[in-house]
């Protein structure tokens, strides 16, 4: 039997040299006159072990990593291609603790399949959800999604089924499905992984959304910082069309669904749904007033579902295995699983899909292995640049939307960025304002002006000028931005700032007692 070798084509794996490893393995096999089959799979998400090369054996896939091109000759010497031992051998991939402890539902296929092999996708339960949904009345699809308890994974956590219900109930001759793939939050990469490593699951989710609400046109609004995902998505859409999953008369029914990718252009604000719609319409991405909700008046004034990549990519498994299967995972009103992304200063970074309820501490230490630098973890920022900083005292908070609200934090898109003791929290707080000033659309004053004033006030506090007065001013500014901004950009920028001030006053050069609100 020809040895089967898997080498990832995910862009993080590529950023660590997976392409060079692929070329080296190909060359080495030719030099040794050895016939091998190489499959470019997605990444398993164990980025601390990438480039992770896998070999098929009769017991399952054997993993080797992280592989450097200099390891390739010795791997061949020890006959890794038939699963033999080598110092880089990690054992069977499925038995790696990091992976074994996860509950992979949305990411069930990621890293296992060749992202653009539609037969491989079908073989691993792909399109089962669509095949079930296409037989159902729209209302029954919406009911299934509502019953699953799925909430918007982009960050706002709004119940997906309720959004869909509104679009379904709004009569219109034209409706749209828009996928928000403008994953701009630092520390997040789960959308990118789905799009690069299992693009058909997103396509399937969008078709099901179209069936559910009566839309026949979909757009994926993809950030320009993801050139690799752009190529993969466009290829996947073409392949899906050739196989009658997209276009006219899907699966020989009378349902139609067209799908297009629109490249964004580097504006963080366009991750906000109304700004995204403006941008898709070919305008500046200025945030719209709500109401009307996009579900009623969205793209070109038509009822529009705007969902995040992960929300849409989770729909197929719900339609395949049922709402009850999905909602059995999780805790309280946070049902199902969350693809968590470990980032920043951690020893073991990568993607962990787990049921809601796991604590930050378990993630940071059991999975993350502590900081990469070996110093203590001082703080983590969860949910991107608009998420609060959490100090060590809050590390026992379970990952659930309500639990995070209780400590004035947000779960957002599930990205966790860790900082060690060398981090200066006042600098990070100032950066939050700076980022807001750079990325604000400028429509509302608290965000547009408040962000710049915020930087100035922090500078004054740090220089020791009228500290008490300026701390009060900073808190007032925070309240104004939270209460007076049009959207989350200005409305949440104070979260990281005020949490940094509350938990790390010494970094601002002030005593704890002086900072109290």
């Amino acid at each position: 039997m020809t040895p089967k070798i898997y080498i990832p084509i995910d862009s993080t794996a590529l950023s660590l040299g997976a392409e060079e490893v692929y070329r080296a393995i190909l060359l080495e096999s030719k030099n040794r006159d050895l016939e091998i089959e190489i499959i470019r799979n997605g990444s398993r998400g164990l980025f601390f072990l990438e480039p992770l090369v896998e070999v098929e054996t009769d017991k399952g896939r054997m993993a080797y990593g992280p592989v450097d091109i200099s390891d390739v000759p010795s791997l061949f010497d020890s006959e890794f291609f038939i699963g033999k031992p080598h110092e880089l051998c990690l054992g069977l991939t499925d038995e790696i603790d990091w992976l074994k402890k996860q509950e992979r539902l949305t990411f069930a296929r990621v890293g296992i399949t060749d992202p653009l092999n539609i037969k491989d996708y079908e073989k691993h339960d792909g399109f089962n959800g669509l095949k079930n949904a296409i037989k159902l009345e729209p209302q029954l699809i919406v009911k299934e999604v509502t019953d699953s308890g799925l909430r918007g994974r982009g960050g706002a956590a709004f119940p997906t089924g309720i959004k869909w219900q509104t679009v379904l109930d709004t009569p219109s001759e034209k409706k749209y499905i828009v996928c928000n793939a403008d994953e701009g939050d630092s520390g997040t990469y789960s959308d990118r992984m789905i799009m690069e490593d299992d693009p058909f699951v997103l396509i399937e989710g969008m078709i099901i959304a179209g069936l559910a609400v009566g839309a026949d046109m979909g757009y994926i609004y993809l950030r320009s910082e993801y050139p690799h995902a752009l190529v993969v998505l466009n290829k996947a859409i073409d392949i899906a069309k050739e196989n009658n999953y997209l276009g006219r008369n899907i699966l020989s029914t009378n349902h139609n669904f067209e799908l297009e990718v629109t490249r964004a252009a580097g504006a963080y604000i366009c991750g906000e749904e109304t700004s995204l719609l403006e941008s898709l319409e070919g305008k500046r991405g200025m945030v719209r007033y709500k109401p009307p909700l996009p579900a009623i008046e969205g793209l070109y004034g038509k009822p529009t579902v705007v969902n995040n990549v992960i929300s849409l990519a989770t729909v197929p498994i719900i339609m395949d295995k049922g709402a009850a299967y999905y909602s059995d995972f999780g805790m309280g009103r946070s049902k199902g699983t969350l693809p968590i992304q470990l980032a920043g200063n951690l020893k073991n970074t990568g993607l962990i899909e787990k049921a809601f309820g796991i604590t930050l501490r378990e993630l940071l230490y059991d999975f993350g292995g502590g900081s990469a630098t070996g110093k203590a973890i001082k703080a983590v920022q969860v949910g991107g640049p608009l998420g609060a900083f959490l100090p060590e005292a809050q590390f026992d908070t379970p990952l659930a939307y309500e639990k995070f609200s209780e400590v004035n934090a947000v779960l957002g898109h599930g990205g966790i960025v860790a900082f060690d003791t060398t981090a200066d929290m006042s600098k990070l707080a100032r950066y939050s304002f700076e980022f807001c000033a750079i990325e604000s659309c400028g429509k509302c004053t608290p965000c547009r002006i408040g962000s710049t004033r915020g930087m100035e006030v922090i500078d004054k506090i740090k220089s020791g000028k009228d500290q008490e007065k300026n701390i009060k001013l900073l808190r007032d500014l925070g309240d104004t931005m939270v209460d007076g901004s049009l959207c989350a950009m200005g409305g949440m920028t104070p979260f990281p700032v005020i949490s940094a001030l509350n938990f790390f006053p010494e970094d601002f050069g002030v005593d704890k007692k002086e900072t109290s609100a």
């Binding site: 997040t188 252009a265 500046r284 920043g344």
Partner: protein, 158 residues
């Protein structure tokens, strides 16, 4: 900077390609930038006429988006991630090193036209911070040495 005949022809062609596309400005500006390397201000009157938009509207659109540039970039574009995850892994030092080594600030191009330096806010490579992107290639766990390699390779390839 006046446009060449060829540039004008290209812009007119792109403008006509997207005439029937809803939300045309976004794909149109990408097409122009992909082709010419930037969106010249000289393209505004052409687009204005084809799409019945004011020059102010087009200027407002182009300048809203960080991705679009109105001046040519160098042969290579080096984007350094400034976001939190990269900060947690020392990106500030990388930023300074790039600026020092190249002798330029952000949004500037080296005198030999080899490299344009840009800040970027997240490449989605946060599991391997700090990250940079050279043209369309993301590089993870960047060190000063890797920056040297990137610059050296840019020189060799040009």
């Amino acid at each position: 900077m006046t446009l060449t005949e060829i540039q004008i022809k290209k812009i007119e062609q792109h403008a006509s390609n997207f005439q029937d596309t809803p939300g045309a400005l976004l794909p149109l500006m990408h097409a122009i930038q992909d082709d010419l390397g930037y969106v010249p201000e000289g393209s505004y009157p052409i687009i204005s006429k084809a799409y019945n938009l004011s020059i102010a509207e087009i200027h407002g659109f182009v300048t809203f988006y960080h991705h679009f540039r109105t001046h040519p970039a160098g042969k290579n574009v080096l984007q350094v991630c400034r976001a939190e995850s990269c900060q947690a892994m020392g990106s500030e030092e990388i930023e300074l090193y790039c600026k020092d080594t190249l002798g330029i600030d952000y949004h500037e191009t080296t005198d030999d036209n080899l490299i344009t330096l840009e800040p970027i806010y997240c490449l989605g490579n946060c599991a391997c911070s700090p990250a940079v992107m050279i043209n369309d290639n993301v590089i993870g766990r960047v060190s000063k040495k890797k920056i040297d390699d990137i610059i050296r390779m840019a020189k060799e390839n040009s």
